[in-house]
């Protein structure tokens, strides 16, 4: 069977360059066509629909021609994806709607401190390449829990692995579908709920028929769309402003201009020292400890997220798995080292054309986003000149000149408004919409597959019916995929307010739950089954406990678990003073759980002044410690298990886990 697959896929892989070359050319031609139609006077709304419709049709087409009835094709794309293309697919898999749309905005708001995300979401790949991925590829797992089960002998570790996987993947996939809805709503004026189900259809048609194989080739196509869409507007903007189309270099000048403007605002009373946070000055939003803790949690989380790790199960060899991680990081790097340029250009635009100007002279883009409530001036949505004049008139001592503290912007606006700020035609806005959609859909595909595979392969096949024939396994897999997808879309359509915050939890949950068991499983032969069970339980449990208590039950955290108010990163004073804390705890409306977002204590308490976004800082060492102590207290693994670990460490000799072929 294997030689047949290789012969078949050999001719396919050799023509990949040509296929994706033609595809990229076709995409560029399509952009030009839309640009011509725009000149001809076709309305923007139709152009927007063309962009989204065309790209989704292409993804669906790839999904349909890549359909498969083979188990190994369905789960690991026949292990025939070249390192370079797997790198692209991983890039799309990894970069979500939040990376594409939200990250530049976070950098705009947080300045230097936002770079924790840039560092965390790239540096994690070093851990993936060195500590984990090649060894899992050698083992030949279909899913991450597969490895846990083989290494820690049995279904307890497998089941715990599935629970951690579900906990960190489900909220994440809901957020992607939510992102799809937002993009369609903002760019296309589509109804949010309708958009969510359109997105769902786009996701399902890719992943259901062809599993990993279809998702892989769709993700490569989606990567090309998303990276072109991300780079084009900012490259044009850079060329316009500085005469050099390399934004990553020219934004250094923008940073200098921003710093100069920041100084002049202070001198001219356009900003107060308390509200102005100089863009390049560190640790104004996160204390140093929180900054480095966040980097650690994001990096270790990256190295533990199952939907990322499983991408490296698809390469032809262990060697290719390693090279593939390097390619992945290069493709991810292209976006992440551009995001700070977006942030700087946007900030410069706001600082130079808005702040210090009369309210009557605001540029048009302020109102077009203000109408959606995404730009606020003097605390009110900037819908029109009249609205902002009225809002600022209500502020005592306001002179009618916009000050820094009057201005508010939603993080999503930075990327999606750049084409408009640069005065580019609508075709570029449509392109950005298509890119954001590609980012959301590709990540959702990977996550859904990770969830459905864990349920069908680990729970159904390995734990419930070990004799299930191949055909039935694939049917179960597809049915579960649809069920999970519909459930996720339904959850997204209810617009859960906390969902975006919960995504950042996924990294801590994955880090605390899976990292110790994965790393020690390969690097420490003495690690045994009881140790792994203890490590996963303690690591995941403590991380989840810290998240849930500090977010939803802060009053219990303060009263029973020794938590205290987080501190202001600049002044070091508690966010909630001792007297206020006593007052809040005495108020039954506040001190009864679960706390809503508006609860004054929610996410404002913790241990050692550590934000709950970095909660793996506690779970991770606890998980390692529990695993070490319990392993040492119980019997060493058998000789067979030691040999198994040796085999994982040696690239030569084919996969260890053998799949029955019929």
């Amino acid at each position: 069977m294997s030689s047949e697959t290789q012969a078949g896929s050999g001719s396919f892989t050799s023509s990949l360059g040509r296929i994706y070359g033609i595809y990229t050319g076709g995409f560029v031609a399509f952009i030009i066509l839309v640009a011509i139609l725009e000149k001809a006077g076709v309305p923007n709304k139709i152009l927007g629909y063309m962009f989204v419709g065309f790209t989704i049709l292409v993804y669906a087409f790839i999904g349909i021609i890549s359909r498969t009835v083979q188990v190994s094709e369905y789960y690991v794309a026949g292990r025939s994806v070249p390192a370079f293309y797997n790198g692209m697919a991983t890039g799309a898999d990894w970069m979500s709607a939040a990376s594409f749309i939200g990250m530049a905005g976070s950098l705009f708001l947080l300045g230097y401190d936002g770079l924790a995300f840039v560092l965390g979401w790239t540096g994690g790949y070093v851990l993936v390449a060195v500590l984990i991925a090649p060894f899992l590829r050698k083992f030949g797992a279909y899913t991450v829990p597969d490895f846990l089960s083989a290494r820690y002998g049995g279904n307890v570790a497998r089941f715990l692995g599935v629970i951690v996987l579900l906990a960190c993947s489900f909220t994440y996939v809901v957020a992607q579908i939510f992102g799809t809805g937002l993009i369609a709503q903002r760019f296309l004026d589509m109804d949010f709920t309708v958009a969510v189900y359109v997105g769902l259809a786009g996701i399902l048609v890719c992943s259901m028929l062809g599993g990993m194989r279809a998702v892989t080739w769709t993700q490569v196509a989606q990567y090309i769309v998303l990276i072109v869409a991300y780079l084009v507007p900012v490259v044009i903007l850079s060329a316009q402003k500085y005469g050099l189309p390399i934004p990553q270099l020219t934004y250094g000048q923008a940073l200098q201009e921003i710093t100069a403007l920041e100084q002049s605002f202070l001198q001219n009373n356009l900003a107060t020292a308390a509200t102005l946070k100089p863009h390049t000055t560190p640790f104004l939003n996160y204390s140093p400890a929180n900054y480095f803790a966040l980097i650690l949690c994001l990096m270790v989380g990256t190295a533990s997220l199952p939907h990322v790790l499983m991408r490296y199960f698809t390469t032809p060899s262990v060697r290719d798995a390693r090279i593939s991680v390097a390619w992945s990081l290069l493709f991810i790097f292209l976006l992440y080292f551009t995001a700070p340029a977006y942030a700087a250009f946007s900030k410069l635009e706001v600082y130079s054309t808005l702040i210090g100007k009369n309210l009557a002279d605001m540029p048009q883009w302020v109102f077009s986003w203000g109408k959606l409530g995404l730009v606020t001036i003097c605390g009110k949505a900037a819908e029109s000149v009249q609205a902002i004049t009225a809002a600022c008139g209500a502020v005592s001592g306001h002179t009618g000149v916009l000050r820094l503290q009057d201005f508010g912007i939603n993080t999503d606006v930075v990327v999606i408004s750049t084409p408009e700020i640069a005065g580019l035609p609508y075709v570029i806005t449509g392109l950005v919409a298509a890119g954001g959609l590609a980012a959301a859909l590709s990540t959702a595909d990977g996550l859904l597959l990770a969830i459905a595979n864990a349920l069908s392969h680990d729970v159904y096949y390995k734990m419930i019916d070990k004799n299930a024939p191949t055909a039935r396994r694939l049917i179960v897999s597809r049915v579960l995929l649809v069920i999970v997808a519909v459930l996720a879309a339904y959850t997204a359509s209810t617009r859960p307010s906390d969902i975006l915050a919960m995504v950042s939890w996924a990294f801590s949950l994955a880090a605390g739950g899976l990292f110790p068991a994965l790393v020690l499983g390969i690097w420490w032969k003495r690690a045994n089954s009881a140790g792994a069970v203890a490590g996963i339980t303690v690591g995941f449990g403590l991380t989840l406990f810290y998240l849930v208590v500090s977010r939803y039950y802060p009053h219990l955290g303060v009263q029973y678990f020794g938590m205290s108010s987080l501190l202001n990163p600049v002044s070091g004073a508690p966010l909630i003073s001792a007297e206020n804390m006593a007052k809040f705890l005495a108020d039954p409306a506040i001190a009864s759980g679960p706390a809503l977002v508006t609860n004054p204590l929610a996410s404002k308490v913790g241990w050692f002044n550590i934000n709950n976004i970095s909660s793996a800082l506690f779970g991770l060492p606890a998980g390692f410690l529990a695993m070490y102590v319990v392993s040492m207290l119980t019997a060493a693994p058998s000789k067979a298990m030691m040999d198994f670990v040796d085999a994982c460490r040696r690239p030569r000799g084919g996969t260890i886990m053998e799949e029955k072929t019929s």
Partner: protein
């Protein structure tokens, strides 16, 4: 496969792992602990501390991984445990 050769392979692999982890630690954390003094140095308008977090460390990570893939492959080949090409 004699076990001595295999032990040697794992020793070299572990050593490379430690080198990579040390570099990772340096570019992820140590360099950024000096962000404030580094920000006093300007390159193309970038304060150096800001530049390291926004580009410098990222470039280092990418280069490290390509180098690692090569170095580990050499270790595997020398020990005779590499996969067939």
């Amino acid at each position: 496969m004699d076990s001595q050769k295999e032990d040697h392979h794992w020793q070299s692999t572990s050593k490379l792992m430690l080198v990579m982890m040390a570099l990772w630690l340096f570019f992820s954390y140590i360099i950024h602990m000096f962000v404030t003094p580094l920000n006093g140095i300007k390159i193309f308008g970038f304060p150096l501390g800001f530049y390291m977090a926004s580009q410098g460390s990222l470039i280092a990570f990418v280069v490290m991984l390509f180098w690692f893939a090569k170095a580990q492959d050499k270790i595997d080949r020398d020990a005779g445990v590499a996969e067939d090409d």
